[in-house]
Subunit: 213 residues, 2 copies
DNA sequence: AAAGATTATGAACAGTGTTTAGTAAAGTCT
DNA sequence: AGACTTTACTAAACACTGTTCATAATCTTT
């Protein structure tokens, strides 16, 4: 093999992995997770179904790859906020970023937070879920900094962080599963729903603010 | 047909519907939702797979039946608390009942709140989801009563109710999907986790309490 | 051009939800 | 009791699914 060919092939291999992932992501978003078959992914990238198994061991591995990617995206949304010096303002930004992420990528959000399959896979991997821990560490750190400024006084940092995460996660889950729209005034449009979510979030922020002093 | 035969047959038919539902519930709890096949349910009740379709139109209809049943169970957990006259105490009781329900019936909980399939089915049914609305109405009413006693002053009843529901739902979802245990100190036992959940809940209660006056 | 190593696939396996056509049982009527 | 009708049930098939494996096609090296 003359020089560079190995690299080119390696590159092609990576390209194909990406193509598979992109096709999978698209189809998942369109049809949902369970409803997307390996065969459909294969057809989309114009390869045989069996080929996919040369690049990914499992359907789970594909899901897991998207899981991992989605998490990095979320963390990157958080890291943009690092320039905000006031920790409570940063915390608010994180909340908004979290909601935005969930609304813009509802399927990836479900993938990450509402399914246990990829989590089981992660448990056997020992790696990569760092992303998840990291995201929570960022929250912990931010809440800790808030406490130095007399927010959440007399509360344990971890507990408050969990309450915050729970609220955000609950809100996003209720939204993406459609429960919010079912319980809210029946014929609410998507726009109204987003507004409702915003106002719920702002209410939560005010609640947190009242915990100062 | 002599008298009583129609009734007996009707009764048998109802019995079989129940048998199917019970078998399904058991298998769902054991193996999970997707992993339970109609064939497995059929084998458990010692009937042919096709027979099940004489009693339920779909697998979805079975899921929906369990969904409905689970919701009635949750609402009944709430109604027990009606004797508590102080609304905030009742609200606390509801929170604890909600958590207890989620921990004792994790699969039904997931069924009800983390899946959209049965919800879509409900959307075409126009009925039965009353249960869901009713549960939320109970929350709304309780929060409203709390406000008369100067809790959650200057907040919109609906918004506060959504925040509360979100927090409880988020907490339970994080627990049942395993995310809580992944982020919490790695080797936490189930007991430790339940304790953690309790302490998170109590923290939330204290937060709500601080909103008085 | 021949040999060797990758890469891709067609066909099959075991499983799924679901439908249909046909059988066996139960109930009804004379 | 025997014939007829209605009901209850099921075996077999269909169109899917994820996954594997022997085989074929392609590319690399000699």
């Amino acid at each position: 093999m003359h020089m560079g060919v190995a690299e080119r092939k390696e590159r092609h291999k990576e390209d194909l992995k990406r193509e598979i992932l992109d096709a999978a992501k698209l189809l998942f978003a369109e049809k949902g997770l369970e409803a997307t078959s390996i065969r459909a992914i294969a057809e989309k990238i114009e390869y045989s179904p069996a080929t996919i198994y040369l690049y990914y061991k499992d359907k789970n591995e594909i899901v897991h790859a998207l899981h991992s990617e989605g998490f990095k995206l979320l963390v990157s949304h958080f890291e943009v906020l690092n320039h905000i010096s006031h920790p409570f303002e940063r915390l608010k930004g994180m909340g908004r970023a979290y909601i935005q992420f969930a609304l813009q990528n509802p399927d990836i959000y479900k993938l990450i937070f509402n399914m246990e399959e990829p989590l089981k896979h992660v448990a056997n991997c020992f790696e990569e879920w760092d992303e998840g821990d990291r995201a929570f560490d960022i929250l912990l750190k931010t809440v800790g900094e808030c406490q130095k400024l007399d927010y959440f006084k007399d509360f344990a940092t971890e507990q408050v962080s969990f309450v915050i995460w729970s609220t955000m996660h609950g809100l996003c889950t209720l939204r993406t599963t459609g429960h919010l729209s079912h319980v809210a005034a029946a014929k609410a449009s998507d726009q109204d729903l987003d507004q409702l979510m915003s106002s719920i979030f702002e209410t939560f922020v005010i609640i947190l603010e009242k915990l100062k002093t």
